[in-house]
Subunit: 208 residues, 2 copies
DNA sequence: CTACATTTTGACCATTCAGTCAAGTTTTTG
DNA sequence: CAAAAACTTGACTGAATGGTCAAAATGTAG
């Protein structure tokens, strides 16, 4: 008895990773229902039955990609430091989220699609893990406010506002590009967006 | 030759409207690919062939619902008055958008889903009509800034920020409810959200 | 090198679903 | 009220798609 239930062979490691990369691209572009196993298999460069050898159900691939995405996605949020300077911490977090939206819009889009359709696969995660984490960070912000370091605003709505604003550039990318065609092509587009957002946001919560 | 190409009979008027209502519900919940004509027909209380008698293709229903949604959705944006007080105008607009998110989340969700998946049906609309409208309102905001009535911020990013923040409460409703279960049930939830958002936003753009 | 385990795939099946069609029912019109 | 127009639907079709299976190919451990 080896007991190595989770042991992966060399080939398994490689192929699972290839599949998950392909799946992220496909699912984020077309949503769960709009994506086909054939599409993912083609992008991954293997036959459909071969893909199903690694992930027996379409849903298995989807859930795995989604879980990986959530981890990455929340990392910078976890990093908000209660001991740091409030404005600096929120600036850092906002910039990090914006960077992620610019560099990995697929992850944001995958998540947005899941939530938009009622979060069928991550309801529990939202209500347990995510809620706990947000409650914790909302407390941190509340403490900052109590210490007079931020204007009195509802911490939860402030968090939502940062999420909404930053993720907008990934999720509504097509719309942003339709309205600012020349701007989005420029190298400094990201900096300008960050600058505008941070100006409004940070002035908005600066203690008066 | 009567030439009444667009003439609708009494029954057509009734049924098209019933179908579009049903379609909004279904498409907003499941997206285009995730929705079936049978679902819409059932919700509309008629047989599938009957529904297809009014809208020969699934895409016809979808595009029609989407176009109606866009009209409603942009109405308050068009109403932003260049002659009004800047802060008052933006407050009014933000509140209206928030109200729409609360009262008609389906419309916001339908639109979000369309954009999220690359706006296959409304690319042209975004690049022509919407762009023109946004350019126009961005000019208004730029004038307000030039007159010293608002802090100097990029008008486009300010508009995106208002859109993102307000629509978040419709599009990410499931997430908001997962994190604020008790809050969302309260009657004054809407007012509190509006208050928090407006505090940050308006303080953020108040001239200094 | 050989025996065993792992990986790969063509062919196939069952279901779902957009859309058709012909025949029947209801509404409108003169 | 009769004829025409408009409306309604059960039964069907073909394509797409998630998933199966058995056999072949490849990799690996001893």
């Amino acid at each position: 008895m080896t007991g190595n239930i989770n042991k992966q062979t060399r080939i398994q490691g490689i192929n699972r990773s290839i599949i998950l990369d392909a799946a992220l691209e496909v699912f984020s572009a077309y949503g769960f229902r709009g994506s086909t196993i054939d599409q993912i298999a083609e992008k991954a460069g293997m036959s459909k039955p071969n893909l199903l050898y690694y992930f027996p159900r379409k849903d298995d691939i989807y859930v795995t990609v989604l879980e990986k995405t959530l981890e990455d996605w929340l990392a910078p949020f976890k990093d908000i430091d209660p001991a740091g300077d409030p404005v600096a911490e929120l600036r850092k977090y906002t910039i990090q989220k914006l960077k992620m939206s610019a560099q990995q819009p697929e992850r944001s889009q995958l998540f947005a699609n899941e939530i938009l359709h009622g979060a069928p696969s991550i309801q529990k995660f939202l209500k347990s893990n995510l809620k706990r984490l947000v409650d914790e960070k909302a407390d941190v912000i509340a403490d900052w406010i109590a210490a007079g370091k931020l204007a009195p605003v509802d911490p939860y709505h402030l968090i939502f506002m940062i999420w909404a604003t930053t993720q907008h550039y990934a999720d509504f990318d097509v719309q942003v590009r339709a309205i600012l065609p020349e701007e989005t092509a420029k190298a400094d587009f990201f900096d300008k967006a960050a600058d505008s957002i941070l100006t409004i946001l940070l002035n908005g919560i600066m203690p008066r």
